[in-house]
């Protein structure tokens, strides 16, 4: 008998997330500032996403959905770290910025990163998703669970704050 054109199955989990793995990893390196933490976070995200995958109904939303899981995990991790110890570990220890090494603006980059890390959680994540993940505002809004205007505002306020603080350095 012929294959049934009516049957529409969701893609297998690995296949569904494959197109976004690289950008998610980039997002996690940004978020944690650390390769080891990023790989750890990536695993957590996969496990959590796999468990929740049956409840995902709209597959056009999968990118924002994955970012949402990632940001939630990032937030949990930041909170746990803050609770566990107030000692500031050099988060950038295993983190390199190869492109900026080449142009010799390492200090600037480090300074900007420090400023970004000091941003409020939501602004930081919105900014990272927008500027480094290249997401659209509606996807950021879905990931952060806020309105599109809210996402836009978070990004622009983050940028404004960065620039203001930069000029005060």
């Amino acid at each position: 008998m012929m294959a049934n054109p009516g049957l529409k199955l969701p893609p297998p989990f690995e296949e569904a997330i494959a197109p976004y793995e690289r950008e998610l990893m980039r997002f996690m390196v940004r978020m944690t500032g650390n390769h080891d933490d990023a790989t750890e976070l990536f695993q957590e995200m996969c496990l959590r996403a796999y468990k929740a995958y049956p409840r995902l109904e709209d597959f056009s939303e999968i990118r924002a959905w994955l970012y949402r899981i990632a940001t939630n995990l990032g937030r949990n991790r930041a909170r746990d770290n803050a609770r566990r110890s107030r000692v500031i570990v050099d988060a950038g220890a295993s983190y390199r910025e190869p492109a900026s090494d080449q142009i010799g603006a390492q200090q600037d980059v480090a300074a900007v990163r420090t400023l970004i890390e000091a941003l409020p959680e939501k602004q930081r994540q919105a900014l990272t998703m927008r500027k480094l993940g290249g997401l659209e505002y509606d996807q950021i809004a879905a990931a952060l669970g806020c309105s599109i205007e809210g996402a836009r505002a978070n990004v622009s306020q983050a940028l404004k704050k960065l620039k203001a603080e930069w000029s005060q350095l």
Partner: protein
């Protein structure tokens, strides 16, 4: 903002090279694999097959048949959503055809055609599981009332709950919820539509007419004594209705291992 601004430059220049990301991904996937193995769901072969009861969505898991879903009356999306909660669906037309073939043979009157093993993994409630398990003991050519089925699982006033359990039966036809009828002789509702229940019962020998009632010439079989009688037999009238099955014909009662009553001599 000018492109020279350090904040802008940060975003335009500080991209992490793809090789680094790929390396990190490989590392993450390697560590992830054993952890995924622990939580990975089993795969279920899913396909659509045609049957005399309309198109059916079929799902077969490693331990047996998981789902028969009437696409005429139920939404495919809902069926797949139910399945995904416990299994990872993989399209497999062949597995569905194997089940479809058995169902078509069954519809043609072959009583032992449904030989594929059923797997009640998609059943969530303990009550429903018990009801469906006891229901599987009701043989071809016989029906039981909602009330009697409730009594067999130790809840004699739970006929409504049994009705709900039948309505959400994941494997109709194989787990024969069409063999459950109302105590007043009307055949009652069915997930695949009432007409579908009529067809299934006719296949098993019940001459269901326009009034949707069981025919008067059916015989009563006692589940404990294994004796079957005419419905008007004095012995049958004294029997506990909760222990009674209604057979389409004396032949189907005999086939199920019962003997004829020596008082009323059902032919």
């Amino acid at each position: 903002m000018s492109p020279q601004h350090p904040v802008e430059r940060y975003f335009s220049n500080s991209d992490i090279p793809d090789e680094t990301l790929d390396h990190l991904l490989r590392e993450a996937r390697q560590k992830l694999e054993p952890r995924m193995r622990v939580i990975r769901r089993s795969e279920a072969a899913v396909g659509i097959t045609k049957s005399p009861y309309g198109p059916l969505l079929i799902a077969v898991g490693p331990a047996g048949l998981l789902m028969v879903h009437y696409l005429n009356t139920q939404s495919m999306q809902h069926g797949i959503a139910m399945l995904r909660l416990k299994f990872d669906p993989i399209e497999d037309a062949q597995a569905a055809e194997q089940i479809g073939d058995q169902i078509r043979r069954f519809a043609a009157g072959e009583r032992d055609a449904l030989e594929y093993k059923s797997d009640l993994s998609l059943v969530t409630g303990d009550f429903q599981r018990r009801a469906l398990q006891r229901l599987m003991e009701v043989p071809f050519g016989a029906v039981i009332t909602y009330h009697a089925l409730a009594a067999t699982i130790g809840a004699p006033s739970a006929q409504r709950a049994v009705g709900n359990a039948m309505a959400t039966n994941p494997i109709p036809i194989y787990v024969p919820c069409h063999r459950v009828v109302r105590s007043d002789g009307i055949i009652g509702h069915y997930g695949g539509g009432t007409q579908c229940k009529v067809e299934l019962l006719r296949t098993e020998g019940f001459a269901i007419g326009q009034n949707l009632r069981l025919p008067a010439q059916a015989v009563c079989g006692h589940r404990v004594t294994h004796i079957f009688c005419r419905p008007d037999c004095s012995a049958a009238r004294r029997a506990n209705p909760d222990k009674t099955l209604i057979f389409a014909t004396a032949e189907s009662a005999r086939h199920a291992g019962l003997r004829a009553c020596k008082l009323c001599h059902p032919q």
